[in-house]
């Protein structure tokens, strides 16, 4: 047990990959076995990750379950893993959603099953690795690896315009991350110039002193890299296409986990590495975030395609998270991190439902549905809960995160917060309107008469998410108590730099307000 806990992160990271290699030796004709085995293995993975949650010391902000080995000695790269309250939940989210998306694809993925499950497991490895890595090089490695399986998942099992979307997805994110790599390398070299030793250890790089002008340039570079992933307003067009064309499992992972990397990157890398530049550029970032909230909501309102609607709603939700993160108060950052989890859960569930509807009718156009609530009471009820969670109805998870974000940002950025809050109204408009057109009214299309309700597998797929929605909504303490120390430490670290920032502000007379 002791050894298990000591190396639990490595086990978590490589277990799916090893499982994938193991599945490689199974005959591809045997699709049933492949599916069941892959799902089972991802469930095992999820159960392993629960140990993280149980043994996580909730009062500490330091990294836990740390593993450190020499990797490339010449330029100081190490195999350095560790998690804090933020990455803990993101890893849990990853393992849960991986399991769920494998379980959800029993019907959706019909061809190349073997390749699909292996790619999904590989993807899981890379995602967890990205969250657990504390070494920039290791982080970047996992970060880029992640794109490969996703590219194939969209490109092979996607719908109509899958190749276009897959290429767009990979080029967009690759362009962003290469700009980011440039920034990271500059910091690496600066650190070498200052201390005379090569290191990719993020905790050591935090102490790098970067001159302000360079800091702003680097911040913009790294910002673009992460902003593409989030996605922040003008960098979002890949998202709608990728989400829409990806298979259900792909959409769930994209929305549930991949979008989180942007925020996680800001939290772990961009902001602590360049705090002064962050503080100076915050107003601009917040403007983008708020535009994203309203823009995403408005565009989502007039979509005709269900998946596209959910995709644009993601843009809106991620805007809230950006707002909370960059408002930089303990409450709002707490809310942002919680909202990351919430968004993964609710949007993931929304995509699952859209996938279920698609499996039944082979269309995603809202106008093709209507009146099916009568035929599918269970689906309608669970879908409703998910929609409400996404709207941010109190008592469900979305509310807690959104409210913390808004209340935390309110004092310093009142105007932004007020505008952002109006996004809550739009959320109700587009989601309820969608729900009404899909579920309510009379059946107008005779094909909908034959609608089948959810079977046991589908209910099992959804239930964990619904449970979490209610749980986080009613009793978020287990989550917040683990997130809070990390976040408080983070905010204190930034506030520490406020002094220098204020000096700069006085000197250049920026933002005198």
């Amino acid at each position: 047990m002791g050894l298990f806990l000591k190396y639990i992160l490595s086990i978590l990271i490589f277990f799916p990959l090893v499982s994938g290699i193991f599945l490689f030796f199974i005959n591809k004709e045997n699709e049933r076995l492949l599916r069941n085995l892959a799902t089972f293995l991802s469930l095992v993975e999820f159960i392993i990750s629960i140990f993280l949650f149980v043994y996580f010391k909730s009062s500490a902000y330091e990294f836990q379950f740390v593993e450190k080995f020499r990797w490339i000695k010449t330029f100081g790269a190490t195999y350095y893993l560790g998690i804090d309250g933020v990455s803990l939940f993101l890893i849990l989210l990853t393992t849960l959603l991986s399991f769920i998306s494998l379980l959800s694809s029993y019907k959706y993925v019909k061809v190349h099953v073997k390749e699909f499950v292996i790619l999904m497991l590989a993807l899981e490895t890379f995602m967890i690795g990205t969250f657990a890595a504390l070494d920039i090089l290791l982080f970047y490695l996992f970060w880029e690896f992640m794109l490969i399986p996703m590219y194939f998942i969209i490109g092979i099992w996607g719908s109509a315009r899958k190749i276009y979307s897959a290429v767009k997805f990979i080029l967009y994110t690759l362009a962003g991350s290469l700009i980011m790599l440039f920034g990271l390398i500059v910091i690496f070299i600066l650190h070498y110039d200052q201390t005379g030793s090569f290191t990719f250890n993020i905790l050591k790089l935090y102490h790098t002193h970067i001159p302000l002008g360079l800091q702003i340039i680097l911040f913009i570079a790294i910002f673009i890299g992460f902003a593409v992933k989030v996605p922040v307003f003008p960098f979002h067009t890949w998202l709608a296409d990728a989400h829409t064309e990806a298979p259900t499992a792909g959409s769930v992972i994209l929305a549930g986990v991949l979008l989180k990397f942007g925020i996680y990157g800001f939290f772990r890398f961009a902001i602590p590495l360049m705090p002064e530049a962050t503080l100076i550029l915050t107003p601009f970032i917040l403007v983008l975030a708020v535009i994203g909230i309203i823009y995403g909501a408005l565009v989502s309102m007039v979509q005709k395609d269900l998946k596209r609607l959910v995709a644009f709603s993601s843009i809106s939700h991620m805007g809230f998270i950006m707002l909370g993160l960059f408002a930089m108060t303990a409450i709002s950052v707490d809310g942002s991190i919680l909202q990351l989890i919430n968004h993964g859960i609710s949007t993931g569930a929304l995509f699952l439902f859209v996938g279920m509807l698609y499996e039944r009718r082979h269309t995603r156009l809202i106008s093709d549905f209507g009146g099916i609530a009568k035929k599918v009471p269970i689906l309608a009820a669970l879908f409703m809960i998910t929609v409400l969670s996404s709207i941010g109805l109190p008592g469900l998870n979305g509310f807690v995160g959104e409210f913390l974000i808004l209340v935390g940002s309110f004092k310093q950025y009142t105007v932004f917060t007020v505008i952002a809050t109006s996004g809550v109204i739009f959320a109700a408009v587009y989601l309820l309107w969608m729900f009404q057109r899909v579920m309510f009214q009379n059946i107008t299309n005779s094909k909908n008469e034959q609608f089948k309700d959810m079977d046991l597998r589908e209910i099992v797929t959804i239930i964990p998410l619904i449970f979490l929605m209610l749980y986080i909504g009613l009793y978020p303490t287990p989550f917040l108590s683990r997130i809070d120390p990390t976040v408080t430490h983070f905010v204190n670290m930034i506030n520490h730099h406020k002094y220098a920032y204020n000096l700069i502000k006085a000197k250049i007379g920026l933002f005198n307000a």
Partner: protein, 627 residues
Amino acid sequence: MDTKDLLVWSIPFFPMLGAILLGVFGKYLKNYAGYIGSISIVISFLFSVALFITVASTHGFTAILYPWIYASTFKTNISTYIDRLSVIMLVMVTGVSALVHIYSIGYMKGDKGFARYFSYMNLFVFSMIMLVLANNFLLLYVFWEAVGFCSYILIGFWYEKKSASDAAKKAFIVNRVGDFGFGLGVMLIFVSTGTLNYTSVFGMMPSLPGYLVTIIALLLFAGAVGKSAQFPLHIWLPDAMEGPTPVSSLIHAATMVTAGVYLVARCHVIFSYSPFASHVVAYIGGFTAFLAAFIALTQYDIKRIIAYSTISQLGYMFMAVGIGSYAAGIFHLISHAVFKGLLFLTAGSVMHAMSGELDLRKMGKLYSKMKITAVTFIVGALALSGIPPFSGFFSKDAILADTFNKGYYILWIMGEVTAFMTAFYIFRIIFRVFFGESHVDPSVHVHESSKVMTIPMIILASLAAVVGFIGIPPFDHSLFYLFLHRDFQNSFVFSPFVNYYPWFLLSSISVLAGALGIYTAYLFYIKQAFDTEKIKRIFKPVYELSFNKVYIDEIYDQLIVTPLKNFSVYLWRVVDTFVIDGAVNGLAQGFASFSGRVRRVQNGMVMSYALTLMIGVIALLAYYFIK
């Protein structure tokens, strides 16, 4: 948890249990669903009465269930605050709910969603109880939205009808607009006081700058405007009548819509420290009361008329709490809950008898066929019109007397005119439905409703007749005032009395107004003394204005909904697809065409590759030589 706490928590517990049971196992419960739903509410009502007795003899207290959101300095609990105001609300809510639930057993009989209906209703009662019990603004906000959500699913209960699902959506979204303000208010309270607990927040009010208090109060009031359907957010309530009638009775007359009034009364400290905000409340209330009554004059749908009447009566309540007469407002809230609940139930009974018909023009002469319904309806109507000794007389006059004596003459005049119109439109219903000539479709078999429906109606009617006596004028010496006024003592007195006219003088004026209204209706619809068509023609603009609900829906549609939709389409088609995506794809195409040119260099001729290589070698050698 001591016994008192246990008592408190058992009140919301039973409806919640009922909601879960019915929601999950509803399919298997069949007709028992109605009994389970009703019994859970009745138990809850009994506990409420017990709590009422406990609190009446002691002071208020707080009961904490568990810590809810603890993030850094933001700390809120799931906890309740019990004082006299909350227990009065509690008894009213659970009492009316219990009666409506019992009524629903008869009304909803045979509906496919019988169990679903009771599950939703129990969920609503749970949320409403928690709303009343909450001890901090966040919990209040949570259940504020939760009752809105219950209202949403209940309005859209018959979701196959497009009108019903549209109305549900409209209700939710309009409420959201109000809640937007409310939410900002809650945030502002936290930011300026650092806490959300009622007692701590109220304690800090005197020390806050005036403008901040005003903003907080106005933001909170925005929530109240949405929930209580005041102008300009009243448009959802008439449409909400698409839901089953008991829902209209419980949610859209007796309980949920009065939450706004409860909010202002609960936050009376905040409002009293901002006379400006209070006056906004009062005048919006007064204007809404007048506007809604004006619209109600010409409508033909019974339920819609009663809905406008609800809006109008809620306006009275806001008028009362806006001028600082909190007890009077709450008194009207209670008596209104009783008689308006009654009116809806009886309207439902009529509708039931008429197989769902609601149009005034297709009724008449029903009195002989459904006596109980008719009598109870008339009792409710008399109470609404403010005719003594029915409850509406006492409560409405408590408000009107205060408006006059506190010097708000404009409000008083509006109130009196509204009282006249109120009496007119409600008796317009009575005369056209129960008396006069019959326009009933002969194929409809009109019949009296079953006992399970009539008994709650009778109970409510007798309550409507007697409940006013707890507030026998002069109001500030009445039982009700003396019981409640302890809770309002800590508010700042911003509107002292300027006149001391005796109550009977003022009352007689309003009774006169009411009686005049009834008499006018009598002249119109029984005597047929005037040619209605001619009057319609003479007052055509006024009539059209009233008949088309002052065009508010259309104005919103033209001013907000359509432009917003067009703007969104513009954003999607032009900004997103054309500008941003165009830029991205343009960049990609630019690279592609550039590479298309560059790739010509690679012509496949081995010799030219070799030549290039050689040139490279030469250049390298030259470089090293020069270096």
